[in-house]
Amino acid sequence: MELIVQGIIKAFELIISFDPEVLGITWLSLKISGTATLISLIIGVSIGTAVALNNFFGKRLVISLINTGMGLPPVVVGLFVTILIWRNGPFGFLGILYTPTAMIIAQAIIATPIVMGISLAAIQNLPPNLRLQILSLGASRLQLVWVLIKEARLPLLAAVMAGFGGVISEVGASIMVGGNIKGYSRVLTTATVMETSKGNFDIAIALGLILLLLAFVINFLLTQIQQRQKLR
C-alpha cells in the first residue's frame, strides 16, 4: 500500500517538476503512437471502406482476416518486424532497427487492422440504401466515399480511440524493435517495464500513472469531438 502511495507522490513530483527525462519519454510516446495511429487511419479507413463498399469474391475471408488482425499480439508483430529489418533481413539496408521509425512501423501494423475492422463495420452498418441515395443525388465516387465517412464519423472516432489506445499501451513490439534506448527510443511503456525490473516501483508507478493520464486526456478530447454533434 505504502508503495502505491509513494508512487503516486513520486508521480506528482515528476509531473509538477517537469522532469526533463519524463517529459521527453512522454513526448516520444505521444509522437510515436500518434504517428502510428495516423498512418493506420489512412490505410485502415481507406481499405476498410473499400472492402465495405465493394462486392468481390472472397470478401468474407478478407473480413475474417481483418477481424483476426484486430487481435494481433504485439510481440508477434515485434518479432516479424525485427526479422524484416534485422541487419541481414530483407529490409536490413534501411538500418532502422532500434529507432523510433521502427517503432512507428510496428505500432502502425498493430493499429491498422483495428482501425480497418471498425471502419469496415461502421460503413457496413450504414443503411444499405444510403449509398444509392447519395449516388442518386449526383455524387461522384469520391464524393460518395467522403459523405459516407463523414456519416460514420462517430464509430470512426471510436476506431481512432481503439487504435491509439492499442498502441500507446503496447510494450512488446516497442521494446523489440525500439530497444528502449534512453533519450532516443524509450517510451512510457518500455520505461515502466525497465524500472519495474530494476525494483524502482515508485518511478514505475509514476510512469504508469502518466500513461493512464495521457490515454485519458486523448480519449477525453476525442470523445468531446465525437459527442459534440449530438447536442446540436
Binding site: 440504401n129 444509392l132 441515395q133 443525388l137 449526383g138 455524387a139
Partner: protein, 363 residues
C-alpha cells in the same frame, strides 16, 4: 404537350440466382407525365426504379435517356445527375435540414448563393422553410419525408422517382405530402415515376399506369384504361375490380352482348360471338343498391339480391351480395342505415351495361 419519350428501357433482363427479377421488352416514360408502376410486393418495382435511375445496371438490355443510350460509367453518372430518387425511408444525413437539401447541389459544385436560393425554394415547395436550421436526425417521420422530397427536387431533376414514398406516414401528413407533391410536380413540370401499391394513391396521382408482376409488365396505359379495362384477371383483381364473373356470351347485337352467368343474364357493352367464354368485370362503385325494383333506373341490369355480408371499410360499407352470382357493391354507411340494410336483407342491385367490362376467357 407533345408525347415525347424522356426515358426508355429496352429489352431489359435481370436475373438473380436463376430467378428472373425483371424482364421488360420495352418501357417508355413520357416527358412531363406521371407514371405509376404498381404491383404486389416483390414484383420488381424497386428494382425497376433503381435501373431507371442509373443505380443498377441491367444484365441485358439498355436504358435510353433523351434518346441517348446509357452505357459507360460517365453516361451513368450523367443520368444520375438528371434523375432523383426518393426512397421509402428518408435516408437523411447528419447535419441540418439545409445541409441535407443542399447536398446534391454541392456535389454539382454550385456557388454558395445559388445553393441558398435553390434550397430555400425546394423547402418552400414542401412547406418546411422553418425547419432549415433543425438537425435532420431529430425530425418526425412526416417532416423527414418532406426533407427528402425537397432534397430530391432541389437539384432540378428531369425525372423524379419515388419508391413507395407515402408508406409509414400517418393519414393527415400523408394527405398533405401528396398534395404538396402534386403541386410541385405541376409547377416544376418534372416527369415522375412512382412505385405504388395503393390503388387510391395511383388514381389520385398518376396519369399513366404500368402493372408489374413477377418482373414483367402485364399491362400499361392511361389510368382510366387500366382501371376500367383491365386486360387480365390478375390486373382486374389488382386494380380493385371486386366482381369477376365467368360467363358465356349468348347473343350479341348493336355493340352490346348478353352474357349468361350462373343462369342469369347480364347485359354488357362490347363485342363477341355467341359461345365465346368471357369474364364480366364490375367495379363495386358502379353497382347501385336499392330497397326495391320500383325505383326508376336506366340501368339495364337489375337483380334481386340477398345481402350475404356487410363489411365496414371506413366511411363505406362493402356489401357482398348473392344475385345467383356473387356481386360486390359499395354503399356509404349512412345510406346503409337509411335503407336498413343488414345481413340477409333482400335488396335490388343494378348496374349499367357500360359498367361491365368484358374480358376474354381462355380455357
Amino acid at each position: 404537350m407533345k408525347d415525347e419519350t424522356i426515358l426508355k428501357a429496352e429489352k431489359i433482363l435481370l436475373e438473380r440466382g436463376g430467378v428472373t427479377v425483371l424482364d421488360i421488352p420495352e418501357l417508355h416514360i413520357r416527358r412531363g407525365g406521371i407514371l405509376a408502376i404498381i404491383g404486389p410486393n416483390g414484383a420488381g418495382k424497386s428494382t425497376l426504379l433503381l435501373m431507371l435511375a442509373g443505380l443498377l445496371k441491367p444484365q441485358k438490355g439498355r436504358i435510353y435517356f433523351q434518346q441517348n443510350p446509357v452505357e459507360t460509367l460517365a453516361d451513368y453518372q450523367a443520368l444520375r445527375r438528371h434523375v432523383s430518387v426518393v426512397f421509402q425511408e428518408p435516408l437523411l444525413l447528419n447535419g441540418t435540414v439545409f445541409e441535407n437539401v443542399a447536398l446534391g447541389l454541392k456535389f454539382r459544385g454550385w456557388g454558395r448563393d445559388e445553393i441558398k436560393q435553390r434550397v430555400r425554394r425546394a423547402l418552400d415547395y414542401f412547406g418546411i422553410r422553418h425547419l432549415e436550421k433543425r438537425s435532420a436526425k431529430a425530425l418526425s417521420g412526416g417532416e423527414a419525408k418532406r426533407v427528402s422530397l425537397a432534397r430530391a427536387f432541389a437539384v432540378l431533376p428531369r425525372v423524379i422517382l419515388l419508391d413507395e414514398a407515402f408508406n409509414a406516414l400517418d393519414p393527415p401528413s400523408r394527405e398533405d405530402i401528396i398534395r404538396d407533391l402534386q403541386k410541385t410536380l405541376e409547377e416544376t413540370k418534372t416527369t415522375a415515376i412512382l412505385a405504388l401499391h395503393d390503388r387510391e394513391e395511383t388514381l389520385r396521382l398518376a396519369q399513366d399506369v404500368c402493372i408489374l408482376h413477377n418482373g414483367k409488365i402485364l399491362q400499361s396505359g392511361t389510368t382510366a384504361e387500366i382501371f376500367h379495362h383491365p386486360a387480365s384477371e390478375f390486373v382486374a383483381q389488382f386494380v380493385g375490380t371486386e366482381t369477376i364473373l365467368p360467363g358465356v356470351i349468348q347473343s350479341s347485337a348493336d355493340g352490346s352482348v348478353t352474357v349468361a352467368v350462373n343462369g342469369k343474364r347480364i347485359e354488357a357493352v362490347g363485342e363477341g360471338a355467341a359461345g365465346q367464354k368471357v369474364y364480366c368485370c364490375l367495379r363495386p362503385e358502379n353497382v347501385t343498391v336499392s330497397r326495391s325494383a320500383t325505383e326508376k333506373t336506366s340501368a339495364r341490369n337489375c337483380f334481386e339480391a340477398r345481402v350475404m355480408d356487410v363489411i365496414r371499410q371506413g366511411y363505406v360499407n362493402k356489401l357482398v351480395l348473392d344475385c345467383g352470382f356473387p356481386l360486390v357493391a359499395y354503399i356509404t354507411q349512412s345510406s346503409c342505415e337509411d335503407l336498413g340494410i343488414a345481413r340477409n336483407a333482400v335488396v335490388v342491385a343494378s348496374f349499367k351495361a357500360t359498367a361491365v367490362h368484358l374480358l376474354r376467357r381462355l380455357e
